[in-house]
Subunit: 495 residues, 4 copies
């Protein structure tokens, strides 16, 4: 049964809300209150085609998973569908798209990317304005993100000399799985915002190099698509769970990834509510300004657009975070506890259970007592709680106050890592491995899977250099005595 | 009996000084030495119309309160009054007024104001030059104000995880009155410099959101006008008392606010003499330069005007602070003491008595011993004593050295707060609530009462976000263990 | 007997060196090795007129004191003298002089000078290039000077409230002499480089305000001229002695100032050799560049002239510090000791004896043991030993380690003071008074004696404001508990 | 037997690789895997003339030492040789060469060089782009190099007064050899990159002033050429050994320098692998960009060239560090140990044995236990291990934790020294002498041997000034009590 555009257009309200996605019509009225990103953003497309807004931030199975079959109303009339396709095809390029094409043409060859900052610099140039805003944004004034990185600059090395270094080996194990370097891909969502292949780029790059990848509940590909992108069948994926408040829904999600062969569950514990990501919130109306200016023949840079007057409809509306990419990330279950959630998880799965987002020594102790298999010290890359202590500082406090915890579970850190030397600082202090998120989003945006491989190769080269110059032949030689937290701040790019 | 302009003009000296205000003539000769802002500024208008200088910084009842009836000489002759009115009407716009009109036209919609810095940025653009100088100025090199804010950047959080967060509630009580968040409006004077409705904007905004407002003795509206602006009869106002050296005068002021229903007296103790506000002092002659330049077709920005040659009459005159908005704020009683002033206050009123401007642990102890109901740790927003310790640092020292004080009286802080996370840092350390002053002056200047509401909503949103991400369901869950004063300075906008 | 120009010109070598000063001829051959500024600079004028180089940096009695009568050869032939006078009169203005005239015309009125930084800013504009280089220069990278000032920004106040403040009195005594504020003029030489009246400006300004002035051995006026500039006969001058290695010469100098009524001897102990003042050394050839550029119609700013190619004679010559204003300051006696110099001084004069330039706690202790009347903690304004501890930090260490010293002698500090709050920090820590040098050089350069008065009035106003806001009615109320050395660095202009 | 160009061109692969150097033909096929700088860079010239790439970074005896005689195939045909010579002669100047000529013409006279920063500034202007990249580059983000220098800014002096200073003497001994100041030339390689006379400039300058010079294994002149440049036969040279993994090869090198009269062996222990010098790696393709831009009439500054698109062949190739000057420095023996290497060295030579590159207190202790004659605390000028503790900080920790070590061996530091005051800080803390490397490379690049002398004279002048102003007559008077590590960071050029 095909549906006319006119019919769709009639269902344009909260009372009855239909949308078109890839020329199919869906009734999302009942789903509105369930939508993790809020009802508002959907209502913007009520009675209209929502394909362009939907695609980059949803996996293809999102509709199947979230809408019962009876809400899949059917195909749009073919002439209307044709019209929409044509409109999309003939659409004039936006100013942002024109800029990106120009930057893509100037992109340096991969061989000129010497470090992770180079990679980020390229990505910042070729990313769509809104995608960059989502990837780069952090909570409040973004200080927390900067502090995560800056924390590393306070730790200096005591390199050791005259030690045998041939056959240097940086490999380790993570949850029993071999890793060529003490590094893994930390959960980072919505990769399709940067590249049409999205998270699959990361999976391919990790597979080629043997790294373990954590896949976010909010990936823009389906968990199955990501699993299918594995280079070898035994490539290790682990799952970052945003737990739904309804245990049954959460369990369904766990079962799915178990069946796909994911090897561990990282329960997200630092994001019961979304952080305040202003860069992200601003990007929509800033982009509008850019396009308006382009129509008048000007080119506007971001820097000129801090606080602008909305030119179109002057309807005053309070900005909530609805409609931004960030808003999609809210975790539903705001009442998780040590006493209920961890035991429940243990009862439903045999996979190792880890906590992602531990931010204090006190909670590291509780985690050990709760018997989890590991914890990831993380403040979500500075995107959630402003002024959360940098993960490296939490690690350092565990080393000083409760070194026994390192024997009870695996402890990882992420946030702020840009160099092999950063990785080794964390490992010296007791971290089993170090996660990186944004660098992989940038790399896949700039160069696809090859960019991901490049980032890993750079880290590998830097880690080997530093191990040798530290006098460490294996990761077991990386000991706390090799690092010192100095009482001055280092100068330079980290600032 | 109507008075001719000629008559007025004859009384143009310290010996006999008449001024015209709103077409009425006053003999202020005997009042000259009493004027809190000094005689000089009045003498500038001796024998002339002083309306434009008088209005924005005096409440309408100022003349009634301060001049005996026999000095209200009568109406100006109607033809002269007409002439003055016409002159005012036909007056050419100043360069500053032209600039403000242009900026007002570009003002962003309220929905684009995401944080308190955004609000300040708008206000800085649309405020008259001299008003901004008064609002923004601080003592000496303005370091004290910056340090107030920077102090917050040294406190980081230990967020806690896996705690029940539904029904999160940020409300508290202040002196027994309910407040939806641990925030109140701190005393901030001369709001009419930014908006014709002045302090009433703040009262309306506070009323709509349930916040408690402290009203300054130096408000530019009368205490009665402010009281009349309340949204509901039980809306809570408290009074910031600048005590007159004459107890009878002071008592009259107290009785007035008691009768108007004000709920507490905050005695100002950090301002026995005015601070050195150079930005304020300079603004008059800088503005003169701007106008002169405009006549010659140039537009001058403030930045170009640090030290300029006075072009008009080249009379050398020593700058005292007379004539600036700041000079209005001097408190008369410079001999207040613990032994005399507090007991006297107790003896004349049943309202709670609090001290505004405690700047050391030692005085916090004395305040508790004196039995006051509360203290506001404050250095007057950095406008009085240069290099006074930031209030948050005083709070931190009380927490470390005398935590028992928190049980003896309510302790508040103000100065430097721009984020919900700042509020929570103070509350974790023991503050009952946190006051903000300048942000409300800026907000009402930029958007009137709606701007005030917006600022409160932003703080509310940020406080809720942070409580949830900290793992706190009520303000009682905000404990000292959640914050750590780190030994490095944070980077970023706070600097 | 009059001497022809030709005759003079024949004596143009180290073997026989005559120079003309104010149309008189002098044989300085034997004086060459004695010249504190080195022989080289004199030889530059051998057989020529040296008046312009001589005058601004020598007191008028310099020739009488240093050259025996038989070396005063007589007058230059009147026609030649006439020619020299004419040449001087008709000399084309240099580019630097043209610039100064332009800046003088734009100089703001004194009433617009609100603080010492304003004053310095004006002086920097109207000073001759080389004079500014001499006044502003400091040793090596000038870090020591900046650190002197920055030290003050690490000390914050604990202001006290509710104290009687009427009749506030900032006066104190220095060596028993009354001073209206705890401030004195520290020794600062060569004031004529900035203003034709030189040190007399400072004497007049200090006299009008009651301040004590220290006069340098290297003043550009004679000690008698300075004494003659006193406003009242009992105006207090003290003498900064650079001790000559020959005790007899030194004694002659002491006797001279005793007879002129100077009240104390401050023996300079931080300058046995001149510091490395590169700004000063560079100024000569930079100025040459400026003039050359001006001839070609360009205006060169200092900023563009860091390292320039000498364009004129390309004779390679090693730069020693000869020929710069700084080089004049070398103290001759490099073998002064505690055991010999102090007892000798005591044996020859009844004046109080103080040490100027104590830079360590250890030497403060030795000074007390040696029984001197006082010490001035000073590193010569950062002009001598690079990275000498800031005087305020030395004062702080004395307060912590040897507070008993404050009872044994008067202790002063100088260096880096720009605000009344700085003065009070030092006094709270135990300093009897605080010296300022450069600010007075700048003030007299910019506005003569009136500038000096202005600087003192500004300090007075700021000191009174801060005493009242600190809760101190007299200097005895300024106690160590009122200041705290914080572990962060303040932001702002001090940096 | 002369060889035709055509013949050479046929041997252009890894299987058979011939190159022309100075019109002689060499078969380097078997040497490819041995080349310290990697095979790749040689293969770039396979079958071609390699003279221009070879000469500036190899000593003339490099071919004799490393290629067996049978691989010296003979002379190039004279007509081809002529052609090559002509081509070289008629070669158009590169943009970089044009720039250098222009800068050379503007070079200031030596007398205007007042400090080591001035010298570096000149060198930075006149050095070829790639040479500067090699000299200036450091590992990773170059933070380690900056921190080396910045460490000095945390140490302040307690200068002492009233001490006899005549006959001040800064001389000391180093390994028993007299040195006029506690300074030596630290190993710094490839001086020919900056000046055709290369290391000989340094030898001549050191000889004229009596300084001891350390010669690197990687000098661009032969050890014999350097020895021949000595000013007197007893001028002291010491040898910095990069130990070859084959003891016999290493021994041959030691014997050579023994016979040439070198006085000590400094075994390099901080460079088992090359650091990550990105500036160096980037310089090749950046230079290419500069030349391309020049062809199109633009002048490109370095600053504009951070990440550029390679324009020529777009062959993707992974950048290893092959082909950069840095890559030449890899030390072969990666399995040196305390137990094997030091005893072996002792067994083969009677020269004093020292370790260059000790970076921790722990290894300083081991070195003393191993009985070496001395250690040089160094992190290779920040070119090897990123975030290695600054050498001055290691020295400071030895002073605090193990002051007994200063009695057991001589301890030196290098890295970050730019002032005489820096030298004295290290000597006060216990260093026997202080090494400088880069400053001499810059000096000889800018002014040849005269530049080297100038640098030494500047240091000498600054050291004497500081000793006198510190109150030290000999180096024995320089004691730990004279320096204090402050808890704030100094401002200024050091940052």
């Amino acid at each position: 049964m095909s549906i006319s555009l006119k019919q769709v257009e009639e269902h344009n309200s909260r009372q009855s809300c239909w949308v078109i996605i890839r020329n199919k019509v869906y009734d999302v009225t009942e789903f509105l209150p369930e939508h993790p990103g809020g009802a508002k953003i959907i209502l913007k497309y009520a009675g209209k085609d929502a394909t362009d807004a939907f695609e980059p931030i949803h996996p293809p199975d999102a509709l199947d998973k979230n809408l019962p079959p009876e809400k899949h109303l059917g195909d749009l009339e073919s002439s209307a569908a044709q019209d929409l396709d044509n409109a999309r095809l003939n659409r004039k390029k936006t100013a942002d798209e024109v800029r990106i094409e120009r930057e893509q043409a100037k992109k340096p060859p991969l061989s000129h990317i010497l470090n992770l900052k180079d990679m980020e610099q390229v990505a910042r140039k070729i990313l769509p304005y809104k995608s960059l805003a989502y990837f780069a944004s952090a909570t409040d004034d973004e200080i927390t993100t900067h502090e995560n990185a800056r924390a590393y600059s306070r730790f200096f090395f005591h390199p050791r000399i005259l030690r045998r270094l041939s056959n240097c080996d940086a490999s380790t194990t993570i949850l029993g799985y071999k890793s060529p370097i003490p590094v893994f891909v930390s959960g980072a969502a919505l990769a399709k915002l940067g590249h049409p292949d999205g998270e699959a780029n990361i999976t391919r790059g990790a597979g080629q190099t043997g790294l373990i990848q954590m896949v976010s509940s909010n990936a823009s590909l389906s968990f199955a698509e990501i699993a299918a992108a594995r280079v070898t069948p035994d490539q290790v994926l682990v799952f970052q769970l945003y737990k739904h408040k309804d245990n049954d829904v959460a369990l369904k999600r766990i079962r799915e990834v178990e069946q796909l062969g994911y090897k561990a569950i990282f329960l997200t514990v630092d994001a019961p509510f979304p952080g305040n990501r202003e860069r992200d919130a601003r990007s929509a109306w800033e982009l509008e300004e850019i396009e308006l200016a382009a129509e008048q023949g000007e080119e506007k840079s971001t820097a000129e657009l801090p606080l602008t007057k909305k030119k179109l409809e002057d309807v005053e509306e309070d900005v909530d975070t609805g409609g931004t990419a960030s808003s999609y990330l809210a975790n539903d279950d705001v009442d998780m506890t040590w006493d209920t959630t961890i035991p429940w998880l243990r009862s439903v799965t045999r996979l190792p259970i880890l906590l992602k987002g531990v931010q204090s020594v006190e909670d590291a102790v509780l985690a050990a007592e709760a018997g989890v298999d590991g914890i990831l010290l993380s403040n979500h890359g500075g995107r959630q709680m402003p002024y959360a202590l940098p993960p490296l500082e939490v690690l350092y406090r565990i080393r000083q106050q409760r070194p026994d915890l390192f024997d009870k579970m695996e402890i990882y850190v992420d946030g702020g890592v840009t160099r092999g030397s950063d990785v080794l600082k964390a490992v010296c202090l007791g971290a089993r491995a170090v996660g990186l998120g944004r660098p992989f989003l940038y790399a896949q945006s700039a160069y696809g899977a090859e960019g991901v491989v490049k980032v890993i190769r750079i880290l590998e080269r830097e880690i080997y250099m530093c191990m040798r110059l530290l006098g460490a032949r294996t990761v077991d030689d990386l000991v706390p005595q090799m690092v010192e937290r100095v009482d001055w701040s280092a100068v330079g790019p980290k600032l």
